[in-house]
């Protein structure tokens, strides 16, 4: 059974059809990229998967369960975590606290008025592991709002990981970053995919990133499905070249 199955979803904003009858199937362990020119409906499509929006029609199943109309928090509890195009963190809290919150939520401590010493140590250990994983150990006690953009983005991705997701959705993870920062984020995503066998779906503008990372690529154009295939297939696809790559050249 596929981990994520999207069947014929559409989303209308008034008379605008932002996503038009798109289907996609993601297998466990896959790294899938969704690309397309501006206004192709990538972010809307993402918002439908994460529950930020619900589809006007169509069906979304995650691990065999219909999640089409579930609230965002309930999707998170089932294992779907996401990041945003514009980094969303808790700016006036330290990196450690930013990570501690999702760790506690994922451990089911969300409404606990206190933690036992044992639970507290478990949470602390998990936070340390995550700090390490995100390359943030030496910035643990700084306020996230004071960090560089790349570190804020790394914090956000690590926060999503803190939830122990089975599916990670990354909305333009390298948006607005310099070359060095982009490289570091790519390395982080690659580690998560290869070492942790995490299933990832990402939207990306930067073609170098996409062709480096993705197992398979889906192309959207004006809200519609255009093509899907391996990076080589997509690079050779004429329709894609006209709609997207051609346009960029």
């Amino acid at each position: 059974m596929s981990l994520l199955q999207i069947e014929h979803v559409s989303r209308l904003f008034g008379s605008l059809i932002a996503v038009n009858d798109v289907s996609m199937t993601v297998e466990a362990g896959e790294l899938r990229a969704v690309i397309g020119p501006n206004g192709a409906g990538k972010t809307t499509f993402f918002n439908l998967i994460s529950g930020f929006l619900t589809p006007s029609s169509g069906r979304i199943t995650f691990d065999g369960e219909d999640i089409t109309n579930l609230l965002p928090a309930r999707r998170v509890w089932r294992g779907i975590a996401r990041t945003f195009q514009v980094t969303e963190v808790f700016p006036e809290l330290s990196v450690r606290e930013n990570l501690r919150i999702p760790v506690e939520v994922a451990s089911g401590f969300r409404v606990r008025p206190w933690l036992s010493r044992e639970d507290n140590e478990k949470v602390g250990a998990r936070v340390s592991t995550l700090l390490e994983m995100g390359g943030l150990s030496n910035k643990a006690d700084r306020l996230v709002g004071e960090l560089a953009h790349g570190d804020q983005r790394a914090t956000e991705i690590t926060m999503a990981l803190a939830l122990n997701p089975r599916l990670l959705l990354l909305d333009e993870p390298t948006a607005g970053m310099g070359d060095q920062e982009t490289y570091e984020i790519i390395q982080l995503i690659r580690r998560l995919h290869k070492d942790n066998k995490l299933t990832i779906v990402l939207i990306e503008h930067d073609m170098r990133v996409v062709f480096h990372l993705a197992d398979r690529i889906m192309v959207l154009d004006q809200g519609k499905f255009l093509a899907e295939g391996t990076p080589q297939e997509i690079a050779a696809n004429e329709a894609v070249q006209t709609a997207y790559l051609g346009q960029a050249a």
Binding site: V76, A81, E88, V111
Partner: protein, 316 residues
């Protein structure tokens, strides 16, 4: 602020509060003034649990403050002359009302939330104003007084001895404030900070935001109704002014004045507000204009409140 400074500040505040009945009279105050500061400080700190630590502005906390006060007064006057029973009824009534109203407003944000809390608050004001047979309307609930508390091994004479009453209020204040501080340091408290900092992020970390705002609202109203019961006991009297919207405004002013991002801020704000009120209202009937002017100046020049200023100084 470094940890040590924070502890020193805590110790200083508790020391001042513990010794207040002895030094207040030497600086032109009186013991009841100290009790009043503590009661308003508890109300403002309870409001700040929601405002400063969850990021949600309520303009209707006077309703639950007033329900606590009316519950206490009417219980002691009509049901049974016992201070603890009166307080219990007041707290239960105030908290229950908040718990029922909560789900209707927890989905609202910003100014919509504030407006709806005012609207619900005014409902209780008009009930208190109009239900003459029970509340005596504008005349208020009088002809009753707080009762000495029987502790089993001794009797706490909060009626005749104003120092005993002060320490009784301080004990309730300490327990309430301690409970709030404890909650704010818990995993639950951190979910509230998360909502304040970034609601969207909180939602997509799996926090059911509306439900947590409802819980924070009920906790905040629980503590404000405790303040309300103490207010009734302090005055041996309640009238609809306790429950009116401008009372809610006063709580907000105290929290913002003192600094809503610091735990003790609302206490400082309440102290400034009550002392100014006490002094100015004996000089002029228009005392509120001066408090208002002071408030505007603080908001303009020290947007983080009086305590925010002190903290910034210690950092730099």
């Amino acid at each position: 602020m470094p940890k040590l400074d924070k502890r020193a500040a805590d110790a200083l505040i508790w020391a001042l509060l513990l010794t207040a009945p002895f030094w207040l009279t030497h600086v032109g105050g009186y013991v009841e003034l100290g009790s009043r500061v503590l009661i308003y400080a508890l109300a403002a700190m309870a409001l700040n649990f929601l405002l400063g630590y969850t990021g949600v502005l309520s303009f209707g906390h006077a309703a639950y403050f007033g329900l606590g006060a009316y519950g206490t007064a009417l219980t002691i006057k009509l049901l049974y002359p016992s201070t603890p029973l009166g307080m219990l009824v007041g707290i239960v009534v105030g908290t229950a009302a908040a718990a029922i109203i909560g789900p209707m407003i927890a989905r609202l944000r910003g100014v919509y939330f504030a407006m709806c809390t005012i609207a619900f608050g005014q409902v209780f004001y008009f009930i208190a104003f109009q239900w003459f047979s029970l509340t005596h309307g504008d005349d208020g609930v009088s002809a009753w007084h707080r009762m000495p508390i029987d502790l089993g091994f001794a009797t706490l004479d909060i009626l005749e001895n104003n120092k005993s009453f002060y320490y009784f209020v301080l004990a309730v204040f300490a327990a309430s404030v301690g409970a709030m501080a404890f909650l704010l340091r818990s995993p639950f408290g951190r979910t509230l900070l998360a909502i304040r900092e970034n609601e969207r992020r909180a939602r997509f970390l799996g926090i059911p935001v509306d439900r947590h705002i409802w819980m924070s609202w009920v906790i905040s109203c629980f503590f404000v109704s405790i303040a309300g019961t103490l207010y009734a006991l302090l005055n041996d009297f309640v009238d609809p002014r306790a429950i009116r919207w401008d009372q809610s405004g006063n709580f907000v002013i105290m929290a913002v004045l003192g600094g809503m991002r610091s735990f003790w801020g609302p206490l400082i704000g309440a102290a400034i507000f009550i002392v100014l009120q006490d002094y100015l209202s004996s000089q002029t009937a228009n005392w509120m204009s001066f408090v208002g002017l002071f408030f505007v100046l603080v908001v303009l020049f020290f947007p983080r409140g009086v305590l925010g200023l002190v903290q910034r100084k210690t950092v730099s």
